[in-house]
């Protein structure tokens, strides 16, 4: 898997929650050669299936979401745009930030910021909330209302590029990095006989309400699932207790959202393959699609596998190439023979 190439393509596409179209199209194209069948469901999620050919085979669903955090235009004032977040945006990153407004063709905007001379020192030490901010699109009120109507979505303007020797940095790596990991896992499994029907889900609207995963799971009816998403990577200003170092391997979730034998299976597979891995204890909601997937229909055995990602929900999300490889290797091992273990436990 050429992560640099695939992620440069996927991350550059705009796909805020509810507007994933272009990303889903690319995801479908990337998925097609690796599965028997691929489709896009009513909520815009991409579903690929690789069947094992056995009767009554268990269904394993691997999920990574395609949407990214973004913005939506809520009003116009003197030609400037008012906006609201789509997902958990960090407002501290917004002043003087370039955005892409998803009009046709797309337009550039800059989040306006007040110059220091008309502010007090106290003002300048205070973070501004999104309610106080505007986007400058260089248009008059009339032009702005006509060209960029209320409801227009917007995203950060970065793509994804190498940072140093080992890292990749950009927007939307949460969670397209993990979608690329799913593709890599499929590549690693190609030509091998499986004992489950394997469903790959590129889900929509995770950042808002997990809508894509909820509705897709209803249709797929999986027996087992793994939500593959990002967790907080370390950074110099963050507590080491709450973050996971980049380059030290995938992070296996443990807690009520994670079916115990699946967590254990992941840990065992990592040990067998001598892959580095880390454990994240999650006392309740995992903050991933694993949470709703677990209670789909009559319930689904759920694993949460995470990729450490630094600067989550920013235009500079950062991941380690080796973690991508290791997560894919671990997932492939997790899939091999999982049908038998599931049947043994039934």
């Amino acid at each position: 898997m050429n992560y640099d190439k695939v992620l440069a393509r996927l991350c550059a596409l705009p796909g805020p929650s509810g507007f994933e179209g272009p990303v889903a199209e690319a995801a479908e194209e990337l998925l097609r050669p690796l599965v028997d069948q691929v489709s896009v469901d009513r909520m815009g999620s991409v579903v690929g299936v690789r069947r094992c050919g056995r009767d009554n085979a268990k269904k394993l669903l691997l999920d990574a979401h395609l949407d990214e955090i973004g913005f939506v235009i809520t009003g116009h004032e003197e030609g400037f745009l008012r906006f609201a977040p789509l997902g958990g945006v960090d407002p501290r990153m917004l002043p003087d930030r370039e955005l892409t407004l998803l009009t046709d063709p797309p337009r550039m905007g800059v989040v306006a910021c007040l110059p220091p001379h008309i502010q007090t020192r106290e003002d300048m030490d205070k973070s501004q909330s999104i309610k106080e901010l505007y986007i400058d699109v260089g248009l008059s009120q009339e032009e702005a209302e006509r060209l960029i109507p209320v409801g227009t979505p917007a995203v950060y303007r970065t793509g994804c590029a190498p940072l140093g020797e080992e890292l990749l940095c950009g927007k939307a790596l949460d969670d397209r990095a993990c979608f690329a990991v799913l593709l890599d896992a499929l590549e690693r499994l190609s030509g091998e006989e499986l004992d489950v029907d394997l469903y790959i889900l590129g889900s929509t609207q995770e950042e808002t309400h997990s809508t894509g995963a909820i509705t897709a799971a209803y249709g797929i009816v999986p027996d087992l699932c793994a939500a593959v998403d990002v967790t907080h990577g370390d950074s110099p200003d963050a507590s080491k207790d709450k973050t996971f170092p980049l380059g030290k391997g995938p992070v296996i979730g443990v807690g009520p959202n994670c079916t115990r034998w699946l967590s254990t299976r992941l840990e065992h597979k990592a040990k067998e393959l001598d892959l580095p891995c880390q454990v994240e204890v999650m006392a309740g909601h995992s903050g991933t699609n694993g949470w709703p997937l677990q209670v789909s229909r009559e319930g689904v055995a759920t694993a949460v596998l995470s990729l450490p990602l630094r600067y989550m929900h920013t235009p500079i999300e950062t991941v380690h190439r080796r973690d991508l490889e290791d997560t894919a290797a671990l997932l492939a091992a997790f899939v091999r023979g999982i049908g038998k273990e599931a049947e043994d436990r039934a």
Binding site: K126, S127, D136, D237
Partner: protein, 341 residues
């Protein structure tokens, strides 16, 4: 001129590290210059003969440098500590990309994820001391192979058109002044003119000290940018000025009272030729004019500035029609001065 401005804004030249900008300007100016030299402070002084001999009577001045960062320390983890060079509001720096040194090393100004920030912490903007640049180096040695303490960094970002007749770019302050001067250099001038492309304006108009001393003009016109705050929710005079309403003609700012008759000359020329113009409605800021004015026995100074939103930030916004009008008005000003000879 806009093409030239785009090229100039794409160059990195933080105060004290103006070499790339100076080399570019020198190359562009050479075919038109009568004499050209770089002085001890890094200013580029270009002299061009015109229709009337005037020697050092008139100096046009624009600064080459831009605000940015400088690496102060490399930590054991391979993270760079830095200071801002020039006045940067740290709120516009967080999460932004920078390009470091001659090796053009990409870096980002990191900030831990909002989920990891306490409710109390969230209300305050992190202090500059706590900020850092991440270049993806795993440790001190890996970082040191790419950058050293003292390596300069400029904000990243390519110039681009925005909305109706606006330009988004870094370093519009003051590459627009440089572009106007380079454009005039190509033209037949009505009198001899000295063009001073100065260094280190952003850290205290340092270059202008030497440039004004060596040139010692009678009249200096500073071509600059000035901060605009024409945003919703900002009332009346606090908006200062607005892109698209013409060049700003200064009568006073936070650092100088401009020569009244030069102010009136510029104003009357704008009126006569129907060039839109504005003044700053708020006394703030300062530029090379303050230093030039107090050189030797004194110099009569004037300033013509483009109103620019988000000045000193990676995505500054100015009006391309204002830039063109600055060029027109400067040209008319030189003619008027020549007529008076």
């Amino acid at each position: 001129m806009l093409d030239l401005l785009n090229q100039l804004c794409a160059l990195d030249g933080v105060s004290g590290d103006e070499d790339r900008v100076r080399a570019f300007i020198r190359k562009k100016a050479r075919p038109w210059a009568h004499s050209i030299r770089t002085d001890a402070l890094g200013n580029l002084i270009v002299f061009k003969r015109g229709g009337k001999p005037a020697e050092n009577k008139v100096m046009l001045c624009a600064h080459m440098d831009e605000v940015g960062v400088i690496v102060t320390k490399i930590t054991d983890e391979g993270v760079l500590k830095f200071d801002f060079v020039g006045g940067v509001d740290r709120r516009v720096a967080m999460g932004k990309s920078v390009v470091l040194g001659d090796n053009r090393v990409p870096g980002i100004i990191g900030l831990k994820a909002i989920h990891l920030v306490s409710r109390e912490e969230e209300k305050q903007v992190p202090k500059t001391d706590s900020l850092y640049i991440d270049i993806g180096a795993g440790n001190r040695e890996a970082a040191q192979a790419l950058v050293q303490p003292g390596t300069y960094g400029a904000f990243a970002g390519a110039p681009e058109a925005l909305g109706s007749n606006l330009l988004k770019a870094k370093a519009i302050d003051d590459r627009v002044g440089c572009a106007v001067m380079l454009e005039l250099l190509k033209e037949d001038l009505p009198l001899d003119v000295t063009f001073a492309f100065t260094a280190q304006e952003e850290v205290g108009t340092r270059g202008a000290f030497g440039a004004a001393f060596s040139v010692t003009p009678e009249i200096a016109l500073v071509l600059e940018t000035t901060t605009a705050a024409d945003l919703p929710g900002v009332e009346g005079h606090r908006r200062v000025c607005a892109p698209g309403k013409g060049p700003v003609i200064s009568y006073m700012d936070g650092a100088a009272i401009y020569d009244r008759s030069l102010f009136e000359t510029l104003r009357d020329l704008a009126e006569e030729y129907q060039i839109p113009w504005q003044t700053k409605e708020y006394i703030s800021g300062g530029n090379d004019a303050r230093t030039i004015q107090r050189t030797r026995a004194g110099v009569r100074v004037a300033a013509l500035s483009a109103a620019v939103r988000y000045l000193h930030a990676p995505a500054s916004v100015g009006s391309t029609t204002d830039f063109q009008d600055m060029l027109r008005l400067t040209r008319l000003f030189l003619e008027r001065v020549a007529e008076g000879l």
